[in-house]
Amino acid sequence: MGSLTKADLAENLVDSIGLSKKDAKDLVEGFFDVVRHSLIERQQVKLSGFGNFEVREKSQRPGRNPKTGEEIPITARTVVTFRPGQKLKSKVEDYMQE
């Protein structure tokens, strides 16, 4: 099965709401741009029913090069995490592969 893309999301808005192709595409792009900008400014984004995107500071920790076994520290970094909301979790829970 193929993946759902921005193009698919936009096409759905054309079909379901009757937006023009351009408006649908701009809205989909705009949505992810706004979320991304907020995260870059280290501000969390809470999408009720879907989930929360959070920005977390990770401190340095020991790591290894899996190929050579050589020890190299994983430097401190800022990462994005996603915590799915209860509604999304329960929708997905029962998915079973055929």
């Binding site: 759902l4 921005k6 999301l9 808005l13 809205l27 809470k46 989930g51 994005v80 996603f82 997905v92």
Partner: protein, 101 residues
């Protein structure tokens, strides 16, 4: 930022669109994404990241109040992996949002 604040920003950006179309569009988008994941379909948003399902094996859990054992069946949980672009932008040492197009 909450969903309604996000919708407000998009209403300002797309000021030629009726407010209720923007509200409806964002809700439809999120429903569409949830439905895809519920069907086991991955979501791939270029420049942002991808969503997929991760399998959780069945296990014996405990009710933290009573200490009683409960059988938890296998399940799937939603997972988000930030894309390279988002990872790098969030990790810049001193973010100056105004420099980002």
């Amino acid at each position: 930022m909450t969903k309604s604040e996000l919708i407000e920003l998009l209403i300002d950006q797309q000021s030629h669109l009726p407010v209720k179309d923007v509200e409806l569009a964002i809700k439809s988008m999120l429903d569409h994404m949830s439905a895809s994941l519920a069907n086991g379909e991955r979501i791939e948003i270029r420049g942002f990241g991808s969503f997929s399902l991760h399998y959780r094996a069945p296990r014996i859990g405990r009710n933290p109040k009573t200490g009683e054992s409960v059988e938890l069946s296998a399940k799937y949980v939603p997972h988000f992996k930030p894309g390279k672009e988002l990872r790098e932008l969030v990790n810049l040492p001193d973010n100056e949002p105004n420099d980002l197009s």
